[in-house]
């Protein structure tokens, strides 16, 4: 009780001090370099303890004693400034001369913090790393730039879902994608498109040029403020805001690109194809006779039979005898890819503001062609970010972006109609007939028919925006309220003409409309009391509510009289119509306190509780605490004077985060509507565990940050240990129950790793600078326990004691030199040519051990050059199409890869490629490690050469700055894989990855661009 009184009297004293004094002074502190507001700057009356700290918007307000003469502004990394007060009541200050890179402001959840005082692990990616690239979504631009963040685009198709793993995969059945937050509002980031094609990426609706920075919250200390949704990490996107000073700045960006595939596969040409197919017939004849399968009298008769059979087929496929004379020699990859794919982007923005009002406005247009035919992406949109300061207490504003995106799609990789599968066609078939129509008489359905008579298009309209209000009760206590929305309307339509395979001779079409609306509000207090110079405290307390409503309608039809009307108005029969709606909600409260003693000893604690509609009433709420400590050794006296060491900070954190990304209603047992003709019913479809709750991840992180030699060499190293328990696991139940699986909180897995970031300013003269940046990350995943279950996804599985997604299949043992049979290892290590006797085992894994990026930047006068490599190491790729295309015609007459030229031909041949055989393949057309490859690669991800026009030229044309640049992407790749190593046909899977199935390779792009500031 006594203590309470003393606290109360202390509080009264503070308020008495705050309000009793005569003179008040206020103002704003900005960065002299770029006009950014600087929060956290210490403002002190010289010679006293009176002082305060600037707020998030850089504003400060201070009551000063009547005899005060000078204010001192100090901020880490910036030079202190002393300003005479004179008679002024308002003093604005621009701080400069800092070594900015170690004292930058980092956006964290519900606030921002000085990087130097941060005790969590956060990677910040700045605008210049993201803008003006020939990509449809910003994640592509940050690939390889943040240690521990693995980004896979899966293929060279545009607009597809991207797999993002922050510090490894931490779930098996729930999503392992991070949470995306734009300007404080969680946004929808999971694909809303139909499940019969690849998932698409809703984040393409964000114009990368509007992004000011991307902060990736990696450890529990940073992420736990997002509680139940933070186990996979959080990606905070901050859009560009208006800036005070210098009037209106207009910026124009134009760029244009051409692209081709990074590499083309090598397949047999017509001559090689014919040679090998003839050899196949001879082999099969010999085999048949030797094994007396069909009872031929002589070997010659047997060979003759198979030759006739094969040649008859060749004649059909070539539409005549052209195959014998090499008259036809089609490289189907010429048809799969565009000659050159073009991308054009233009972006215009205006930034400006005064003391009262600041704005950022932009408009953009992007038109991108994929390297593969048909696939094309267009986006246009606009953004307005506005903030108005009504008075020293109140400011408010809106951040709003609207976009329309259009994506012309191709089928998924597992469809005859997809351009990627054109390579299965034989080189002796023509792609088009003499009239220029797609040749219908090909080995498989000719995907070029789909190019001509089919379309699949999705258009999305997106509005992401929020309105906010800041109110300063007193300078040290503010309240912020944000009300945001993410309105997404997706319209998908497809048409398959009669001529197409899926059109089934009658023509089919469909239309799906999906609307997803997120309503989100954040309301929180920020308290930054000024106690004295030594003790710095800030606290955040608030709540958040999110409501997501999804509604959809879909209609499909068939029997189109002709291709004239392609929408469903042209369908003779409507074959399906349905609608659906579903909501989910999250209600959360959070508290965070940051404390530091003389910026030397740092501590942070946060706790969040989340309630979600995804779990039953008894298990709805989860608690997610986190704490961290830091020690800036260079603030200690014994190091303060060090000339070598500028910064040495050690920090450690521990905390708990959750994952609830399993979709809706999974704790319910459910019956669903069935539509048997005229007899509608309810069928049992889902078994639910009412005690279902969060999957939780406890993460320990220990890190060190350092800067040497005037910060010429700086960096940070982190170790983490993520333990995920109570996995939301889709566990198998006996099918004899009438159900297949149930979500249960079962099992645990872990990710451990290290992350290293090094920045070096190698040469820094007035004329010439050379900087190097290296990031490296190692992650080791281990499925610790899943109740003894084995969860399979094709040839991959999650199994206890192994990293998730190991390839599990028959182990290939090469070729028997005596007869050319494919051999496999049996359980006891012997070799067998009987596939059914082969033993299955772990033959690789799809997730890399090491990932990273390496950048060198040079600048000389107005010229800048940046060279950026990315690499992954330690993963394997399974060419799933190998069982059709690298199998000596075992699976069919498919054209084969060039390695088949090394086939076994006669007894004694030592090779890894079995005997060619169409009719008597010995099992090598089934999955085996024969098609497992090392997936490691290093790639020149980006090479940029820029030239800034000199000021002398600019002033004559009245420009502030102008830069022209030439950039190349994926120009060079070193890999042992036979195609592009950045490949994954199952784009987003937790278990599946590293699968190539006729997958479109990545693009190699050359961009020219212009950036002008008026």
């Amino acid at each position: 009780m006594h203590r309470l009184y003393s606290i109360m009297s202390a509080l009264m004293l503070i308020s008495a001090l705050s309000f009793a004094q005569a003179k008040r002074i206020s103002g704003k502190v900005t960065d002299s370099k770029n006009g950014n507001e600087l929060p956290g700057v210490t403002v002190k009356v010289k010679g006293t303890n009176t002082g305060t700290i600037t707020q998030v918007n850089g504003n400060y307000e201070l009551s000063i004693p009547g005899n005060a003469t000078t204010l001192i502004f100090s901020f880490l990394g910036y030079a202190d400034q002393e300003i005479e007060i004179g008679g002024r009541q308002s003093i604005n200050v621009a701080l400069g001369n800092g070594t900015k890179d170690i004292s930058e402001v980092v956006v964290v959840g519900y606030g921002s913090q000085n990087k130097r005082e941060l005790t969590g692990s956060v990677t910040k990616i700045a605008a210049k790393e993201i803008a003006n690239q020939p990509v449809s979504s910003f994640e592509s631009s940050i690939q390889g730039k943040a240690p521990g963040v693995v980004i896979e685009s899966g293929s060279g198709k545009l607009g597809q879902g991207m797999k993002i793993r922050i510090r490894g995969t931490s779930s098996i059945s729930a999503s392992s994608q991070p949470l995306y937050v734009i300007d404080g509002m969680p946004v929808m980031s999971a694909s809303m498109s139909t499940t019969d094609n690849d998932p698409t990426n809703p984040l393409v609706d964000i114009n990368p040029n509007d992004i000011e920075s991307v902060e990736i919250l990696k450890d529990a200390s940073a992420a736990a403020i997002y509680g139940a949704r933070a186990a996979n990490g959080v990606v905070l996107i901050t859009t560009k805001k208006g800036k005070v000073g210098e009037g209106t700045r207009i910026e124009l960006n134009i760029n244009s690109s051409i692209a081709k595939p990074t590499m083309r596969r090598k397949f047999l040409d017509a001559q090689q194809y014919v040679t090998l197919i003839e050899e196949t017939a001879v082999n099969d004849g010999k085999y048949d006779f030797a094994h007396q399968i069909s009872g031929f009298a002589t070997e010659a008769a047997a060979i003759n039979y198979y030759k006739n059979r094969v040649e008859k087929r060749m004649t059909t496929l070539a539409g005549g005898n052209g195959w014998r004379t090499n008259a036809i020699n089609t490289d189907w990859q010429d048809e799969e890819f565009r000659q050159t794919a073009h991308t054009n982007q233009i972006d215009l923005s205006a930034t400006g503001g005064n003391e009262k009002t600041k704005y950022f406005a932009s408009g953009s247009y992007s038109d991108q062609e994929a390297i593969v035919i048909v696939n094309r992406f267009k986006r246009y949109g606009a953004r307005l970010n506005l903030e108005h300061t009504a008075n020293s207490k109140l400011s408010f504003g809106v951040n709003m972006g609207i976009t329309r995106s259009e994506l012309n799609r191709i089928s998924n990789d597992n469809a005859f109609s997809t351009p990627g599968q054109l390579v299965a066609q034989v080189p002796i078939s023509r792609p088009y007939d003499s009239l220029g129509n797609p040749n219908p008489n090909t080995l498989y359905y000719n995907g070029l028919i789909s190019k001509k008579y089919e379309y699949n298009r999705q258009v999305s309209f997106r509005t992401i925006g929020n309105a906010f209000l800041n109110y300063y009760f007193i300078p040290s206590l503010s309240f912020r309220s944000e009300l945001g929305t993410d309105i997404y309307a997706l319209n998908e339509d497809f048409y398959q003409g009669k001529q197409t395979q899926d059109g089934g001779g009658i023509g089919r079409g469909g239309n799906n409309i999906t609307q997803n609306v997120i309503l989100n509000t954040n309301n929180y207090f920020t308290f930054t009391p000024h106690i004295n110079d030594s003790h710095n405290l800030s606290a955040v307390l608030g709540m958040s509510y999110l409501q997501n409503d999804q509604r959809g309608n879909s209609v499909s039809g068939e029997n189109f009289p002709s291709d004239a009307v392609k929408n469903l108005g042209g369908a003779g029969t409507i074959t399906g119509g349905s609608s659906n709606e579903q909501r989910y909600t999250f209600l959360s409260y959070f508290l965070r306190g940051n404390y530091n003693y003389k910026s030397k000893y740092l501590a942070s604690f946060s706790i969040r509780t989340d309630g979600s509609s995804r779990f039953g009433p008894k298990n709805r709420y989860g608690w997610f605490p986190a704490g961290s400590l830091g020690w800036v050794l260079t603030e200690e006296n014994f190091l303060k004077k060090s000339k070598v060491l500028n910064l040495l900070k050690i920090r450690a954190s521990y905390g708990k985060t959750g994952n609830a990304e399993i979709g809706e209603n999974n704790y319910y047992t459910l019956l669903s509507v069935t539509n048997y003709p005229m007899l509608p019913g309810f069928a049992p479809t889902q078994l639910g565990d009412p005690s279902l709750h969060w999957e939780s991840t406890a993460q320990t992180d220990a890190g060190v940050e350092f800067g040497f030699f005037d910060n010429r060499l700086s960096g940070e190293i982190d170790y983490y240990n993520k333990q995920t328990s109570d996995l939301l696991l889709k566990t198998n139940v006996p099918l004899s129950s009438g159900f297949g699986s149930i979500y249960r909180n079962v099992g645990s897995m872990e990710n451990k790793g290290i992350e290293i970031l090094l920045n070096s300013k190698n040469i820094q003269t007035k004329q010439f600078t050379w900087t190097t940046s290296l990031n490296l990350a190692y992650n080791k995943n281990n499925v610790k326990s899943i109740n003894g279950q084995i969860i399979e996804s094709g040839v991959q599985r999650a199994v206890e004691g192994q990293p998730i997604g190991v390839f599990y299949m028959q182990r290939y043992a090469g070729v028997d030199p005596s007869n050319g049979d494919a051999l496999y290892y049996t359980k006891d290590g012997k070799k067998t040519n009987d596939y059914t006797q082969a033993d299955r085992g772990v033959v690789g894994k799809s997730n890399p051990d090491w990932t990273g990026g390496f950048t060198n930047t040079f600048s000389y006068k107005g010229i800048d050059l940046s060279i950026f490599f990315t690499f992954v190491q330690g993963n394997q790729i399974f060419n799933q199409a190998g069982q059709y295309q690298s199998v000596g015609f075992g699976g069919g007459y498919d054209n084969q890869t060039i390695d088949q030229m090394n086939r076994w031909q006669k007894p004694g041949d030592v090779t890894n490629v079995p005997r060619l055989s169409h009719f008597f393949g010995n099992g090598n057309q089934y999955p085996s490690s024969q098609w497992i490859y090392d997936g490691s690669y290093i790639r020149l991800k980006q090479l940029t050469l820029g030239y800034n026009l000199p000021k002398s030229v600019l002033s004559t044309v009245k420009l502030n700055s102008a830069r022209i640049f030439l950039a190349g992407y994926n120009l060079w790749t070193q890999t042992k894989y036979i195609s592009d190593p950045e490949v994954n046909t199952n784009t987003l899977g937790n278990i599946s990855g590293g699968l190539d199935f006729y997958t479109v390779p990545q693009a190699k792009t050359v961009t020219v661009g212009l950036n002008v500031k008026f």
């Binding site: 409260y589 709805r620 019956l671 048997y676 019913g681 069928a683 129950s737 059914t836 069919g892």
Partner: protein
């Protein structure tokens, strides 16, 4: 300034509190388009669950495709060629099924969905009026029995193999699984062939007793009746070599007068509703069907669809010159592909049991039992032959009737059952060869250790 500060905090804090309380209720979100078991409350709800059983039978892993297609693929002796790219069907055709394959697990799983649906109906009879209780129960048991008959035939040795008290069929689950607490009831060992057959016969007999003779409303025509139960009973008795009862059951159907052979053979197939000849059939529409691109009988068989199955000229050579059934085939433009016209048009009705089979069953059963229930076997066979303008036979042996079944019921899924019950060979494989029995799905053994795998897998 102070009063304003206070004022605002007085407003804001309570507002926040009120808002959060209101939000708390917002966490109660009901499923958008499904119901939970607590919502099963009325007779209509129970009936709706029952009717979903027919949807389950329409599934491609039931009568919609696989009960029929797989039995012809697995037991084919050279009359069809499977040339599709789907590896799982190739494995069935080559008798190289994998225990981890999708087909063994899909067919198993779908069967138990139907069975559980029936069990849920039986567990909720307390919500049904007394007047309708027996009928609804009978209908549920009909669905359950015919599914057990199919599963027992695919996953176990046939009844004809004897040793029925030891040979294992499939787990016999007769209680409803509607919450995780019920799961232990599904973890059962495989019941013996005898136990399964006892259950099937009991269920079908109850169905034959309590189901209506027929339905007058068009929408109900596809539901099970007294005579669909008898028709399946005749199949079960044939499998047991209980020819006396088989003849009687088939005779009940024929004598009912509810069915008639359609005038022309081709009128029996590709219909939009049940024909006069259909005793039990699966109906399909463009909105409700077993598949149009990767599943469905038409998908695999039809010339203008995947055309994965072609028919050998040997099949056609079996028919008389005048036999309309021999002309019920389609030829590709270069005559290289022959397909059956039975599965020609999308969304056609799939006959499951039709009257012609009952005549042939009665004939064969009478011949084998030495009885003369209903009519003379020769008359029965010739009745079927005459409809298709085939030359009438002068005399008939049991084997003749079996051959007649093959001609009449080709590609309707009868072949497998003939082979199994009469202990015939498929190529050089004996009827009880390991590879002619489906493997128990490996994923099922993984979660139910009391299951024993079939030999050979």
């Amino acid at each position: 300034m102070k009063p304003i500060t206070k004022y605002i905090s007085y407003i804001l804090l309570p507002a926040m509190l009120a808002f959060t309380c209101a939000c708390n209720k917002k966490l109660d979100v009901k499923p958008g388009q499904q119901i939970s078991p607590e919502q099963i409350q009325t007779e209509d709800d129970v009936k709706a669950i029952l009717l979903s059983g027919y949807n389950s039978l329409q599934d491609p892993s039931a009568f919609g495709e696989r009960y029929i297609f797989l039995s012809d693929l697995l037991a084919d002796a050279g009359f069809i060629t499977y040339q599709g790219t789907f590896l799982n069907y190739t494995q069935v055709n080559n008798r190289q099924m994998q225990k981890s394959g999708s087909i063994p697990s899909d067919v198993w799983g779908r069967g138990y969905v139907t069975i559980n649906t029936a069990n849920i109906v039986l567990a909720n009879l307390d919500k049904v009026s007394d007047a309708n209780k027996a009928t609804l129960a009978a209908e549920a048991k009909f669905l359950r029995a015919i599914t057990y008959y199919e599963l027992a035939g695919f996953y176990g040795l046939p009844y004809s193999a004897g040793n029925v008290d030891q040979n294992l069929a499939v787990p016999l689950v007769t209680t409803a699984i509607i919450s995780p607490a019920n799961l232990p009831a599904s973890k059962q060992p495989r019941a013996t062939v005898a136990a399964i057959y006892t259950q099937i016969i009991a269920d079908l007999q109850e169905a034959a007793t309590n189901l209506p003779d027929s339905y007058s409303e068009k929408k109900n025509k596809s539901r099970g009746t007294k005579y669909s139960a008898y028709a399946f009973l005749s199949r079960v008795y044939m499998a047991q070599h209980n020819y006396v009862e088989a003849a009687k059951a088939a005779d009940k159907v024929i004598q009912s007068g509810n069915y008639a052979l359609v005038a022309s053979f081709d009128a029996e197939f590709n219909n939009t509703a049940l024909s006069a000849e259909d005793i039990f059939a699966i109906v399909q529409t463009s909105q409700s069907n077993a598949g149009t691109s990767n599943n469905g009988l038409v998908t695999f068989y039809a010339l203008d669809q995947r055309n994965d199955v072609t028919i050998s000229p040997n099949q056609i050579a079996q028919y008389d010159a005048g036999d309309q059934r021999g002309k019920f085939y389609n030829y590709s433009s270069d005559s290289s592909s022959i397909t059956t016209s039975k599965w020609r048009d999308l969304y056609g009705t799939i006959p499951v049991v039709r009257l012609a089979e009952m005549y042939l069953t009665r004939a064969e059963a009478n011949l084998r039992a030495g009885t003369a229930v209903g009519d003379d076997p020769l008359n029965d066979v010739n009745l079927v032959r005459n409809r298709s303008k085939a030359t009438p036979l002068a005399a008939v042996t049991p084997d003749d009737v079996v051959q007649e079944r093959r001609l009449e019921l080709a590609f309707e899924g009868d072949n497998f059952w003939i082979v199994k019950r009469l202990q015939l060979n498929v190529g050089n494989l004996k009827y009880n060869d390991n590879m002619l029995v489906f493997p128990i799905p490996q994923r099922e053994i993984d979660v139910n250790s009391s299951l024993v795998q079939n030999p050979g897998y």
